[in-house]
C-alpha cells in the first residue's frame, strides 16, 4: 500500500488516500502505467468490485504483467465510510473541486495530491456508478473535446455504450477533465447503480481493462473477447430523456437495456394513496433503453429513463 495523501483529522484519526501498486517481475520502473480510480462519490460502490477483481486476476498471473498498475479504490474514504456522496463535513461534491490546490482547504489539497499522483499515467480509468436513483448499462462518457484520443481507447474497454457528449463548463472541475487537460488520457466509466455491486458488470469491465492493457502492451495474459460498443455522438444520435411528469411511485414495465419501439410501455407512476395511475409512460422513440430508474419514489422531473434513439434492432 502506498499513501497518496494524508491529513490529520481533528480527533485522533489520520485520513489517508491509499493506492496499491502492482509492478511486473523484474520491473525497471520505466514501464507504462495504468491508473484505476474510484470512490470519488461515497455512495458509488461498483468500482470496489472492479478494484478487487483486477487486483486478484493480475496478482494471480503476475508473470503476464508488463506495465505498472496503480489501483485507487477510495478517493473519498470518509464518504464511503459514511454512505455520503460528497465529502462529509464539507458538503462538497469531490468531483467538482479538481485540480485542487496544494495550499487550499483539505478537500482542495487532497484533490491536488490525487491529480499529481495520477498525472503521467498512460491511461486512467475513473469508475463511477450512477447514483442510487438510476441503473446504467456499462458505458464510457467522453467530452467531445477529447474524442479523437479517447474513443479508440474506449472501444477496447468492453463497455456496451460510448456516449460522446457536448462540453459543459461546469464539468471542467472534474477529475477526468483535469487529467485530460494535463495530457493524461482519462476514461469515465458509468455503470450499475449506487450503493450496490452488480457483479456481472464488474467482471465485464475487468475484462475490458485487461484487454486494453494488452492492446497497450502492458499485459500478455489471456483475455476474453470484448464487445463492440454502440458509439453515440450527440450530433448524430439523439438521447431521449424521460422525466416524471408528476410526483409518485415509479413501477417499471420493462427491463433495462432492451430495445423499445416507439409507444412501448416503460412503466407507470402511481399514487399508492388513491390507487391512481398518475402517468403512464411510453417510449417517445424507438431505441435502446440504457438508463432506467431504480429508486421508486420520484418527484416531478425525476429522471425515469434515457433512450438512445436508433432505427435498427441490436
Amino acid at each position: 500500500m502506498i499513501k497518496v495523501a494524508s491529513v490529520n483529522l481533528p480527533v485522533d484519526e489520520e485520513l489517508t488516500i491509499k493506492k496499491e501498486r502492482i509492478v511486473p517481475i523484474n520491473s525497471t520502473g520505466k514501464e507504462k502505467r495504468i491508473s484505476i480510480v474510484t470512490g470519488t462519490h461515497g455512495d458509488e460502490l461498483e468500482g470496489q468490485y472492479v478494484c478487487y477483481e483486477l487486483n486478484r486476476r493480475i496478482k494471480k498471473n503476475i508473470e503476464c504483467l508488463k506495465g505498472i498498475v496503480d489501483i485507487y479504490p477510495a478517493l473519498n474514504p470518509l464518504g464511503i465510510d459514511s454512505i455520503t456522496r460528497g465529502i462529509p463535513a464539507f458538503d462538497l461534491d469531490m468531483n467538482r473541486i479538481f485540480p485542487g490546490s496544494e495550499n487550499g482547504i483539505m478537500a482542495d489539497y487532497l484533490a491536488h495530491k490525487i491529480v499529481e499522483d495520477i498525472k503521467g499515467s498512460a491511461l486512467c480509468v475513473d469508475i463511477h456508478a450512477s447514483n442510487i436513483f438510476l441503473m446504467e448499462i456499462p458505458q464510457i462518457r467522453i467530452n467531445e473535446i477529447t474524442k479523437e484520443e479517447l474513443v479508440p481507447l474506449a472501444k477496447m474497454m468492453n463497455v456496451d455504450f460510448v456516449w460522446v457528449h457536448c462540453a459543459a463548463t461546469v464539468l471542467e472541475s472534474t477529475l477526468a477533465y483535469s487529467l485530460n487537460d494535463v495530457g493524461t488520457p482519462t476514461l469515465v466509466v458509468e455503470m450499475g447503480v449506487g450503493m450496490r455491486i452488480t457483479k456481472n458488470y464488474g467482471d465485464q469491465l475487468v475484462d475490458g481493462i485487461l484487454n486494453t492493457m494488452k492492446e497497450m502492451g502492458m499485459w500478455t495474459g489471456e483475455v476474453n473477447s470484448v464487445r463492440e460498443p454502440i458509439i453515440s455522438y450527440d450530433e448524430d444520435f439523439e438521447v431521449n430523456f424521460i422525466n416524471a411528469s408528476s410526483a409518485g411511485v415509479f413501477i417499471p414495465a420493462t427491463k433495462h437495456w432492451v430495445n423499445l419501439n416507439k409507444g412501448d410501455h416503460v412503466g407507470d407512476i402511481v399514487d399508492p394513496l388513491t390507487g391512481e395511475v398518475l402517468d403512464e409512460i411510453h417510449s417517445p422513440c424507438s431505441g435502446i433503453l440504457f438508463t432506467l430508474r431504480e429508486y421508486p419514489v420520484c418527484d416531478e422531473g425525476s429522471l425515469i429513463a434515457r433512450i438512445l434513439e436508433r432505427d435498427e434492432k441490436i
Binding site: G104, S246, A247, V297, C298, D299, G301
Partner: protein
C-alpha cells in the same frame, strides 16, 4: 403589495412547494430580490421578510417612484427549509447550481427554470447568498466579474466592502451568473450569518437594499446610512489557515481591526487541552471572515483578513526594486 405564487410543484405526500413573490409598485421591472435558495439559509429568509415588511410601509407611504416595480422572493426552496436540509430533499442537488434551469429537466432544474423565467428580465437582481465555507462575514456586496458587471452600481448599497471575483467553472450555473448572462445586473449580499439569526446584520442587509433602491431612483426614501465602499478583489483577502486539525478557539470577532502579530486564535488538542498552534495576524487589517465551526481540519481557512497596507507595501516593494 401583490402576493403571487411564481412557481408551484406538486409532491406525493407533502404539501405543494410554492415559490412566492411579493411585488411592490408597478410598471418597469426594476429590481428582483431573492432570499434562500438552500434549506439552511435562515438569515437570508429572515432578511427578506424584514425587507417585505419595510417595503409594505414604503409603498403605503407612496414612496415608490412611478413606473418602477420591485419583487421580493423570500425563498425558492421551502421544501428543504422545512426539513432542515441544505439541498433538495430527495436527490441532494443544489437549486443554486441549476440555473438557468430547464422546464423539461430534472426536479431542481425545473424549479430553477420555472423561477428564472419569471425573474430574468429585471434590470437588477439581488441575492442574499451564503458561502460554501461555514462562517461569519462582514456584510458586503459580492460581484462576479463579467462583461455585464458595473462597480458603480454596487456602490449604491453603501456597504463597507465590495468584493470582486472571477467566476470559476462551477459558478456558471448559479443564479447570479445567469442573471448577468441574461442582461440583469446582479449582486450577491452577504450578512453575518446563515443558519442562525443576526438581527443587526439582517437590518444592515435591509438598509443596503433600501440604499440601492433609493440611489437607483426606484424609491424616494433616504436611509442616511451607508459607507463609501472599499473595493477589494477576493484574491486580495488574506487567508489565514490552520496548519493542524483540532478545536478552534477564537480570540477575536468578525469586524475587529487587528494589528500585526496579534493572536487571533488557538488550536487546541482535543484530548490533552494543550495548544497545538497559535494563529497570528500577519499584517494590520480587518477580520472579514471567520470560521464558525468548532472542529477544524488542517489547512482549513479560519480567517480572511482585509490587508489595509497592501498599497503601502506594494509601493515599498517597488522602491526597493
Amino acid at each position: 403589495m401583490k402576493k403571487t405564487v411564481l412557481y408551484e410543484m406538486k409532491n406525493l405526500y407533502r404539501d405543494n412547494m410554492r415559490v412566492t413573490g411579493y411585488e411592490f409598485g408597478c410598471g418597469e421591472k426594476s429590481v428582483c430580490v431573492v432570499g434562500s435558495t438552500r434549506g439552511n439559509e435562515i438569515q437570508q429568509l429572515y432578511t427578506c421578510g424584514l425587507l417585505v415588511k419595510t417595503l409594505k410601509r414604503i409603498e403605503k407611504a407612496g414612496l415608490i417612484n412611478e413606473n418602477k416595480s420591485i419583487i421580493v422572493i423570500p425563498s425558492i426552496n421551502s421544501s428543504s427549509m422545512n426539513i432542515e436540509k441544505r439541498f433538495w430533499p430527495t436527490d441532494n442537488t443544489d437549486i443554486n447550481r441549476m440555473f438557468p434551469g430547464y422546464n423539461l429537466g430534472e426536479t431542481t432544474q425545473r424549479i430553477a427554470g420555472g423561477v428564472f423565467e419569471k425573474i430574468n428580465d429585471y434590470e437588477y437582481g439581488i441575492q442574499f447568498a451564503s458561502f460554501f465555507m461555514p462562517g461569519k462575514f462582514l456584510p458586503h456586496v459580492r460581484m462576479m466579474m463579467t462583461e455585464n458587471t458595473d462597480i458603480e452600481d454596487a456602490k449604491k448599497f453603501g456597504l463597507q466592502y465590495i468584493v470582486k471575483r472571477t467566476p470559476r467553472p462551477f459558478d456558471t450555473t448559479t443564479l447570479n451568473y445567469n442573471w448577468q448572462m441574461w442582461g440583469t445586473k446582479a449582486f450577491s449580499i452577504y450578512t453575518h450569518e446563515t443558519e442562525n439569526l443576526d438581527e443587526s446584520s439582517a437590518m444592515t442587509g435591509v438598509y443596503a437594499v433600501l440604499n440601492f433602491l433609493s440611489q437607483s431612483g426606484i424609491i424616494n426614501y433616504s436611509t442616511h446610512r451607508g459607507y463609501n465602499s472599499s473595493i477589494i478583489d477576493a484574491d486580495e483577502l488574506y487567508d489565514l489557515q490552520t496548519p493542524v486539525a483540532g478545536i478552534f478557539h477564537p480570540l477575536c470577532s468578525v469586524g475587529d481591526s487587528v494589528s500585526k502579530g496579534q493572536l487571533l486564535s488557538k488550536i487546541i488538542d482535543p484530548y490533552e487541552g494543550k495548544v497545538l498552534a497559535e494563529i497570528k495576524a500577519p499584517e494590520y487589517g480587518n477580520v472579514f471572515f471567520m470560521n464558525n465551526k468548532q472542529l477544524v481540519y488542517a489547512n482549513q481557512i479560519l480567517f480572511k483578513l482585509t490587508d489595509d497596507y497592501t498599497i503601502i507595501r506594494k509601493a515599498e516593494n517597488s522602491e526597493q526594486q
